[in-house]
Amino acid sequence: MDLKDKIVSSYLAFEDHLDDNSPLHDIRNQAIKTFEEKGFPTKKEEAWKYTSLKSILNQDYSVFPKQENALEYRDVKKYFIHDIDSYKIVFVDGRYSSHLSQTTHDGIDVCLMSSALSKPKYRIVIENYFNKAATKDSLSSLNTAFAGEGAYIHIRKNKLVEKPIQILHFCSGNESALMLQPRNLIVVDENAHVQIIERHQSLTDNPVLTNSVTEIFANKRAIVDYYKVQNDRETASLIDNTFISQKQESHCSVHTFSFGGKLTRNNLNFFQKGERIDSTLKGVTIIGNKQHVDHNTLVHHIEPNCESHQDYKGIFGDNATGVFNGKVVVEKEAQKANAFQANNNILISDKASINTKPQLEIFADDVKCSHGCTIGQLDESAMFYMRSRGIPEKEAKALLMYAFSNNVLSSVKIPEIKQRITKIIANKLGVNIGFDL
């Protein structure tokens, strides 16, 4: 039985436990139907031309993990940003881990999707927001059908959340192969501010496939800073579907740091539903071996006077492959839009490759839109310059690569995250230098 059939038949079993009267039931039924019709995307689809899921779909994934697994904090501490005080929502094999988490209901809700979906007091929020931003593509639909666990975050009006919120998904490796479908919902009310860090981490080399959906709603004047740290094992694959719906004068930024994993696909979608909105999409990708990272972004300018800034840097070694597909749509009403997009890449091996494609659809006539992509090698004259000052080849390369990504890092607002990313980069490049630029 192939994975699709297995999933569809497990839905029938899953459905038995659902509340027939819940409005969610219809949404799920519709979603599994969509998935059943469309199936997993193939390279025949334009949006998946350069990313094939074939190599990760041939595993016999467990769709529902059998047993609960307790992890000790000391064993997984290193995957947290542990040098700052934070709220934590932690999952192990898709199940909530209360002793690793630190949630709250004190003026804000930092808790679980499972309770939000089942408890009456969250009903209105769920009705207003759940599945309202996610598109009805096959993978998001697949997630919607099974949506059961993940982070539920609701920040009330005027609330500035001083501690960042960390969302961690661990895979313990107790299943020989596991498919996870976390579902996160984040609602930030008027004039509120929140910072969120998300990470998926497999603890063994058993294959894991995560198909994650995160919906973020930034209401009027809300500020949301979101950091995705992707540094998983090379047996773990991630399809990350993130949908951000912004209201007027809100500012949202997503930084995606992609260093690990076997195959990573980031579907990052911004919808600007109000005036004077600011959307920022930044990313650093440093991969090698046979790793594959695909950034598929969409910024939909719907209303006038909005801005979007995209800046993605990629460094590809060995046989690594990268994809950047950045789509910007500026509707007729979205006059005075400022939309910037940059994608710069360095190939450090003859066998590495990157496919980069800006895609602009502009229907307004008074807009500023720019896009630029570059693909290059490390500057040889800079290498000789550095080496002639005593900096060895490996360190000189690392310094140049770090400098190349520094534009993106410099806009990270939490210093501890910046330090952590810097450390991961140094590790990834096999050097022991501080990069304290």
């Binding site: 080496r387 360190e395 230098i433 990069f435 630029l437």
Partner: protein, 250 residues
């Protein structure tokens, strides 16, 4: 300190150096002059270990050791410093971080610990004052948007920080106004000692009024065709290089 014997070097099969012989002893300043295309910068790059240049014949000895097979950074660790004619811009790496990394990597190669931060700061302050470099300048990206004079001052600042045994100044005077020239020359002179040596590569005699050489060599067609005391530089300034060419051809 440096001994070059019958050095032949080429780049992309084009022969550029055709039998250089040169000996530089500790405490000496040597000037290498010559018309454009005579091989001056190539000689500097070959000594510093630029990989595109192929040594076809001959040898370069630093304190008796053949450095042919050493990478550029290993030569730097042994005390060779090249001040670039065109310093490379490196966006995203600050002057301070760059020099810190260079110093600590050099120390690492010698089996030493990193230089303590306060010592590093003190050294940076001291040497930047010597070169009259503004503190703000040190946090800027290396050479990015620097004026010609700032780039060259920054080169000598790095030299001051690294304290090389053998410094090669490749056209350090080009692009400098008279004030910057004085500051740079003053910096070099203050760093001079009986234990180190300097090779000044220049097209013009101007810099040699400030950094006074013990010997002047004229490079032409990849060979040193004439050597003499500092007065030779004045003669070249007055009469140009044509008479040397004629002398060689005759």
């Amino acid at each position: 300190m440096l001994k070059i014997n019958n050095l032949h070097a080429s780049v992309e099969d084009k022969s550029i150096l055709r039998g250089i012989n040169l000996e530089v002893k500790p405490g000496e300043v040597h000037a290498i002059m010559g018309p454009n295309g005579s091989g001056k910068s190539t000689l500097a790059s070959v000594i510093a270990g630029k990989e595109e240049y192929e040594v076809d014949k001959g040898e370069i000895l630093l304190e008796g050791e053949n450095i042919d097979e050493l990478a550029a950074e290993e030569r730097a660790h042994k005390g060779i410093f090249l001040s670039f004619q065109y310093p490379v811009e490196i966006p995203g790496v600050s002057v301070t971080n760059f020099i810190k990394t260079a110093i600590n990597e050099t120390r690492k190669a010698k089996g030493l610990e990193d230089m303590p931060a306060n010592e590093m700061l003190k050294l940076i302050r001291e040497k930047s004052e010597l070169l009259e470099i503004d503190r703000k300048f040190l946090s800027r990206s290396l050479n990015e948007g620097f004026s010609g004079g700032e780039k060259k001052r920054n080169e000598i600042f790095q030299m001051a920080m690294l304290e090389p045994k053998l410094a090669i100044l490749d056209e350090t005077d080009s692009g400098l106004d008279i004030d910057a020239l004085r500051i740079v020359a003053n910096g070099v002179n203050k760093l001079k000692s009986k234990d180190n040596a300097v090779i000044v590569i220049t097209h013009y005699q101007r810099l040699l009024d400030y950094i006074v050489p013990d010997f002047v060599h004229v490079l032409h067609n990849g060979r040193i065709v004439k050597s003499g005391p500092k007065e030779l530089a004045h003669e070249l300034e007055e009469k140009g290089y044509d008479w040397i060419k004629e002398e060689v051809n005759a």
